[in-house]
Amino acid sequence: MRRRKRMLDELDQDIRDHIERETQDNVARGMPPEEARRRAFLKFGNVSRVKEETRKVWTFVWLEQLLQDLRFALRMLRKSPGFTAVAVLTLALGIGANTALFSMVDWVTLRVPPVAKPNQIATVMAEDISGGYDNGFSYPDFADIRNQSAAVFSDVAGTIIFAQDGLSADGNNEPIWTNYVTGNFFELLGVKPALGNFIEPVSGHSLDSEPVLVLGYAYWKTHFGGDPHVIGKNVLINGHPVIIIGVAPKGFRGIISLLDTQGYLPLGMAAVTSDAKNDFATDRKNGSVMIVARLKPGVKLGSAQPVLKVIGQRLAAQYPASDKWKSLLGVAFGPMSAGSDPQSDAVVKVVSALFLILAGCVLILACLNVANLLLARASGRQREMAVRAAVGGARSRLIRQLLTESLLLALLGCVGGIVLGLLASRYMSSINLHMSVPLILDFQFDWRVFVYAFSVAALTALLVGIAPALRATRGDLNNLLHESARTATVGSLRARSVLVVAQVGGSLMLLIVAGLFVRSLQNVDHANLGFDPGNVLNFTMDPHQTGYNQAQAQEFLKNLLPRVRALPGVETASLAATVPMGGIHLGAELKINGYQLRKGESAPHPGYNAVSPQYFNTMRIPILRGRNFLDSDNKKSQYVAVINEVMAEKYWHGENPIGRHFAWANEPQHPVEIIGEVKNSRTAHVTGTYEPYMYVPLAQRYDYELPVTLQLRTSLPLAAMNHEVVSTIQSLAPAMPVFDVQTMTAALDTTNGLLLFQFGAGLAASLGFLGLALAVVGVYGVVSYGASQRTHEIGIRMALGAEPAQVLRMIFEQGLFIVGGGIIVGILAAAAIARLAGNLLVGVAALDPLTYITASLLLAAIALLASYIPARRAMKVDPMVALHYE
């Protein structure tokens, strides 16, 4: 290309020089200048033609041929608009499903936060002795790891992610999700502020507790109207004054790109805004500091692992009581790396792979359909090709021509697919998550999605184009030219039947997987959650955001309950530290009297919830033995607990646990007496086995830094209660933030709850029905084409006395063969792929016979119907017409 430009650039000059010389020569020979010039031009010839000829030398022949091919292809496609429309729409559906899905996978697994050189950044994770992974470190551990890893890391920052705080500005109190970060956090990530300054490193790595706040970009826009004068503004975080010093850049949402961090505070402020933790800097047992490190230039993550391992083992040996680690490991920085361990990462990847495979199947089905259409056209055009070959068209040239046609189809399909995919992902992004957590569903179409779509389209063009192109251009010219079009197609019909068998098989697979998901969603919906979410309303409050201390918070809650219970329409009202399937889950280590740990078994560590009296009535969790909590169960009385069935079975072996005792590992001075046993109910996940779980009175174990949820059972709708309940709360505490106001049923639709299943089922179902539609088109197409190709034969048979029913059977049999073969293929494929979905299925086996049979019958019925229509048409053929055909 560059050579061509250079050569042509100087052409004008060369020609001018040439003529100039000739002129001078002529002058030297004694001509007058005018005449000399005229002669020179005459001798040179037509200057512009010479230029054109020369330029032509450098043009690309293939480019011109491509344009020629494209023009021809466009003409061919315009000549059969029906075929073009069906083919483009089919491809658009296939590519659209793929791009939409890819944009989701891209969001979950590929899109890295906008930081400098993300491949140099790693997060650090501890592998526990018990085999689990933990990325929350205490501050002293963080400091030790930072100080000991200087050989491989150029910088190490610490951050507490997703603290739920309250921000008061101009008299309004709003929840804000914050990160507490060390001073080098932004510098390490290479992020520049959109406005003002960032939190800056303090000398000597001391714990920075300057009262400053950096706002997240989106929060600044929504809560401060994007006001640039926000810098220097005094606001309160949980009642403590801080100054806003800066705004994070647009698009930077913190280190987990799936969640939007709304504010950043210095790490040391964690000890101020929650004043109970004044031993934050020294307490090695507690802490949730995440470690983000930048590798030294030239150091690979792999070579940092041994160093981390040594540090981990050293610290574990030094502080065996708190650092129960097997090892430390670095995790490459990704969209979710900060929040995930290798195990859940793998789950995400498997699920992503599953859906990409399913979407890929839809695309393959679409390709098969289009290939089928093209094959039909190819056999029709075999003679055209033969003629073109006979007059000197090289075979490669003809193949290129046909491939250009399919490429054009694929490109049109690609454009349509991108539009469909955009619509689909817009829709998915707009799904309301009913969550207070600022989860960003941002299925954008970035360059990766476009690259993906275009490579899918190019591959499609090759896939659908190559076989028909080879077929159309194949063969002995002489034979082809003498054969009739009719006989030339028998081979291609067989090929097409095989394609349709694959197609029916593929769509059956999609249908079965869709069926499994839908069945599992049904199971989840009907699943015995163990509690009754109907008619329960949730109001979450966070006393510590208003600056309350423990005593004030407890006093407030104590006064609140009677007032709410007195409201008209309220059956029962109770408080709980956590709600099922919510964002927060509590758990604690216990010492259980009389329970012998088996070898290798870790100490009892059940999940728990702190609740007020009437909780079990509000949630309708049946009490099997013992009693409910009472107002008299308070700090001064005997500490008590209610446990679930699994916990009773596990630690008291099914004996009556009432009256037995245990102690919190970190509070051995208060023995806890078990006063009741309740039925198992879902707490953290809607699936899986039940785990040991217990309930304790909010009055006895309450962490005022956590939000607390008021739950009430009422037959009135949320809209009718909302105002009264909120005003009752705020009559007691005017600045109390009330959020997550929703029905318990809506609260279940979180990522922990039903959302994932609804999402998965919806996605799988849409893919399944897409596949079904494509299969119907395919079966109908091949059978009716086959029938039309055999019109002549049918005519002869009928003329010789064949009954219409026999003809019907003959054509129908072809459909039967396709459907039968397809079902076998489909069941095998589904059995293979459904194993991947295992984790997402609830109460339904990967090989659930009911789903397999129903899906097969459904597909068979529809496919046979699709082949019955052309068979009937064939039956009605008039022998005379058929014989005169052609």
């Binding site: 060369d14 000739e22 010479v50 030398v57």
Partner: protein, 120 residues
């Protein structure tokens, strides 16, 4: 039809012109004008080539890598492009010359068939 014929004649001319250019450059690189003059001179003005058609031919030969181009200064101190034979071009000249000789020989035999027969 007439364009078709023109094209054919041009092609015929083209092959000849290519050969003449290669032949001219056998004695060393030269600039465009010098090549045109040499062809004119050596053929005693019999081959009246339109000088302009030299340029497409030169570019064609460069694209085939039979010629190389260098910037240089001409005898009267002007910047000019000097075209020279590449190794490939040299080989091609031998091939083309042989081809030309056999064609010329064949044409000569056709034009004087009696004389040839008489000699054999």
């Amino acid at each position: 039809m007439s364009t078709q014929e023109q094209k054919r004649r041009f092609e015929l001319l083209q092959g000849t012109l290519d050969l003449l250019i290669l032949r001219t450059l056998l004695f060393g690189p030269a600039h465009g004008y010098a090549i045109a003059k040499t062809i004119e001179f050596q053929s005693d003005d019999v081959l009246q080539v339109e000088q302009g058609s030299l340029y497409p031919a030169l570019h064609r030969l460069i694209k085939r890598k039979w010629l190389s181009v260098e910037e240089g200064t001409s005898e009267n101190n002007r910047r000019a492009k000097f075209y020279g034979l590449t190794a490939k071009g040299r080989k091609q000249l031998a091939v083309e010359t042989t081809k030309w000789d056999s064609i010329a020989g064949a044409i000569a035999r056709i034009l004087r068939p009696a004389g040839e027969e008489g000699e054999s």
